[in-house]
């Protein structure tokens, strides 16, 4: 059965500890195969929303369905099988320092149970694609910020996830690499992966025709009547959201 919605948020709120809610009253759906940009000023709650999406955080209220399953308070033993269907590009890369770039990229495949001989080809191919074929054995501390980001992206997409969540994925790469990464995301999207990218880069948004925009302000979706809409055209292109 093909799901029409990859994620469904109903009256979702999130607070850390006893602090104020950082996300409140989130109601939206992410269509299967959609391409979404998540924008908003710093501190608006973009990263918190992404954490809910990639199951690193449970909501403090409301219901979240991912891949058609109610996961707001699902037993934690259930979560790994859903996490394996989600690729995540973290803002701080989250690469394992003592592993080589190859091993970092191979990690999702190995966790999913692939044997070493099944891993070699896809990982080499992915590293070549992000321009790091000759850096396969390098460890993250010896890579530049941009290289680390490309490794993180390669790790996120290596197993062709159903949902790709990226937090500022082009923040540390040059314009050319940003374009290549965007093409990669678009290619994955065409293959059926739902893509959610949190970014300030309006150029990236405008370069993705058909992508939809979710704008967060103060932990809430800024335009409740049209939360999922096409990105606005210039004049505010090249400026910061």
């Amino acid at each position: 059965m093909v799901l029409s919605q990859v994620a469904e948020f109903d009256s979702v709120g999130l607070r850390y500890g006893t602090g104020a809610e950082v996300l409140r009253d989130l109601d939206f759906r992410l269509a299967n195969g959609g391409f979404y940009f998540l924008t908003g000023p710093s501190g608006a709650g973009k990263t918190s929303l992404l954490k809910l999406l990639y199951l690193a955080q449970r909501p403090t209220r409301g219901r979240i369905r991912i891949f058609g399953e109610e996961l707001s308070d699902a037993p934690r033993e259930l979560l790994p099988q859903f996490r394996r269907r989600i690729g995540v590009v973290f803002q701080d890369f989250r690469l394992i320092r003592h592993l080589s770039a190859f091993d970092n990229v191979a990690l999702p495949l190995r966790i999913a149970g692939a044997a070493d001989e099944q891993v070699e080809g896809p990982v080499r191919e992915m590293l070549a694609w992000v321009g790091l074929a000759d850096r396969a054995s390098a460890r993250p501390p010896t890579l530049s910020g941009g290289e680390q980001q490309r490794v993180a992206i390669a790790r996120a997409v290596i197993n062709r996830p159903d949902l790709l969540v990226a937090d500022e994925p082009t923040g540390n790469v040059d314009a050319e690499m940003a374009q290549r990464l965007l093409h990669l995301f678009s290619a994955l999207n065409r293959l059926g992966t739902t893509v959610v990218v949190a970014t300030h880069d309006v150029g990236l948004i405008n370069a993705t025709p058909g992508a939809q925009l979710i704008r967060l302000e103060n932990g809430a979706i800024a335009d409740p009547t049209g939360t999922l809409r096409n990105p606005p055209a210039p004049p505010w292109s090249r400026s910061r959201c």
């Binding site: 996490r83 989250r94 191979a106 999913a112």
Partner: protein, 289 residues
């Protein structure tokens, strides 16, 4: 069931290649050494107590105060009594030598009356009442004493020491387990970031646990075997010969079964450490999402 032990090179790299970085192996080696020495002492005590019990279980003494005159007649009576397997009189000279320890040269005085003493062994189920009646028919003042009554307090002490040794083995095992729990928590703290990343990518608790379990199992095995080897050396030095079943102290011996138990202890300690590590890591992981 043991597939967690056969990690691939890539799985081994996840927690880094360095081994024996922490004190776990050393702590377990010390525990293993102590456990083996104490267990060997406990088993030797048990062996001694068993030997002593078997030796005196069927052994009795006939004592006739100041009555050395009719010892030969009495010995004949005892030997002919039903159920008696052997009997021998303790020579008067030996009795006097024994008394000399307390009385000095006065023990050799002919004026000092020395009791007649006959030791005898009986078959299981022998009628001691019938033997007593026969003896008292020859020497009315004679009394019969069971050796187990005389040695009872010593045997009790030996059994008590044996239990103390057993308790110490349990206590040291508990201490080793506590050290493993601390080591497991330390390892989790050290690798918290790796665990978070693995969880985020979809690793199950068991996948993460297997990595730590394997690492701690190797440390525990190396430590246990090293400690056991050191203990074996010490035990060999303590025994009079290099025989595997040599004496430990003063006639106490370790049987083949005892040696087998001692050989299994390091493996048991490794298994305990591995199980404890697994439980500790799983419990810690369950606190995270």
């Amino acid at each position: 069931m043991l597939d967690w032990l056969l990690a691939s090179p890539s799985e081994r790299r996840l927690l880094g290649e360095a081994r024996l970085r922490g004190p776990t192996a050393w702590v377990i080696a010390i525990m293993s050494f102590s456990i083996l020495i104490i267990a060997a002492a406990g088993l030797a005590l048990a062996s001694t107590a068993g030997m002593l019990t078997r030796a005196i279980e069927a052994r009795y003494s006939v004592e006739v105060p100041a009555g050395g005159a009719n010892v030969e007649a009495l010995l004949g009576t005892v030997r002919s009594a039903p159920g008696v397997t052997s009997a021998e009189a303790v020579p008067e000279s030996e009795m006097r030598r024994t008394l000399e320890r307390w009385l000095g040269p006065a023990a050799q005085s002919s004026e000092l009356p020395v009791p007649a003493l006959i030791n005898f062994n009986v078959k299981p189920g022998a009628d001691l009442g019938a033997i007593r009646r026969r003896v008292q028919a020859v020497a009315p003042a004679a009394s019969i004493t069971a050796h187990r009554e005389a040695v009872g307090p010593l045997l009790h002490s030996l059994r008590l020491l044996q239990w103390v040794a057993f308790g110490l083995v349990l206590l040291l095992s508990a201490a080793a387990s506590a050290a493993v729990v601390l080591a497991a928590r330390g390892a989790l703290d050290t690798h918290r970031f790796t665990i978070e990343v693995m969880h985020g990518i979809g690793a199950t608790d068991l996948q993460v646990t297997n990595l730590f379990q394997r690492k701690i199992a190797i440390d525990a095995f190396v430590g246990s075997v090293a400690g056991a080897a050191a203990a074996a050396l010490v035990l060999l030095v303590l025994t009079t010969g290099a025989s595997l079943a040599g004496e430990l102290t003063g006639g106490a011996t370790l049987s083949v079964l005892d040696l087998l138990i001692l050989a299994l202890l390091p493996l048991a300690l490794t298994a305990l450490a591995t199980w404890v590590a697994r439980a500790a890591v799983l419990a810690a992981l369950r606190k995270a999402l």
